[in-house]
Amino acid sequence: MTAQVITVTSGKGGVGKTTAVANLATALAMDGKRVVCIDGDIGLRNLDVVMGLENRIVYDIVDVIEGRCKLKQAMIRDKKYPELYMIPAAQTRDKNAVSPSDMVRICNDLKPDSDFVIIDSPAGIERGFRNAIAAADRVLVVTNPEVSAVRDADRVVGILEAEEKGNPSLILNRLNPTLVRNNDMLSAEDVLDLLGIQLIGIVPEDENVIIGSNKGAPVVTDAKSRAGQAFRNISKRLQGQDVPFMDLDSQSGLWSAIQRITGRK
């Protein structure tokens, strides 16, 4: 068995890459998959706190690369899901401590014993981003329905095209259906038309995402959260299942309101 390597990137910072990685990795583990996620943001370690694993770190990815520990020693097992692991970024080094070939080597070592390797890319289009995409079999681009995030996502998609990394898929994060209905937020259709790439999921704005990261428990573990449902759907699509998109962005405000009230969603 060999894992699929998925890199999550965005161009702009703060659009929800780390949230997406923590949630997709957890959702895949909830489905019984063996998952390793890697924090690729050297110097700005974050995935550990979002997943609630910050107290368990002994070694990090740079320790592996520089031979101070074995790969297994840097893999931190999740509190809840024994088949879920996280490899932390180094906090006191810079991104030049890692090269694209280091990432390829680590992913190749992880592949035989995992189903998915998910890499959290740093913001930007520089070294850290290049490292993060080097080993990717598939790239997910996260954006928000907002001019600066969409513009940066387009730059990243252009670079992925030039690097022949295959067709990236889009996660549209933090969509506010009410604003979309009032035509005060770009709709999913607008963003897809602008970027010209395929959609893998729309995640609605949801305060439970912040509550989840406050607790170090990704929102997918919250069965009632809409964002959690959206991330669970994306994880099914990553496993090749055909899951219909949640009805969030439609213009039929009244109808979706009725559906929400009557609990048909």
Binding site: E146, V157, G158, L179, D190, L194, G196
Partner: protein, 83 residues
């Protein structure tokens, strides 16, 4: 779209992004595009007579593909000959 005359912000966001993405993707500033148009018209004018005011040249997108689209009406040759 809406019943009021105020243009909603999502519409202007989309229009502005459409323009900015075309220039980002082609790495061509609006000023460079104007210069390109001028050069193009000069080159064409060496061979055929055109109506510079009726010319439309612009960048268009189709998915992730960019196109330079030119609509260049020619001055009627027969009319000129008759005159």
């Amino acid at each position: 779209m809406n019943f009021f005359t105020r243009k909603k912000s999502a519409t202007s966001a989309k229009e502005r992004l459409q323009l900015v993405l075309v220039h980002d993707r082609t790495d061509l500033t609006p000023a460079q595009l104007e210069a390109l148009k001028d050069d193009l018209l000069k080159a064409i004018s060496k061979y055929i007579e055109i109506d510079p005011d009726a010319v439309q040249i612009g960048l268009e997108r189709d998915g992730r593909e960019q196109r330079l689209v030119a609509d260049i009406p020619l001055r009627s040759v027969t009319r000129n000959r008759a005159g």
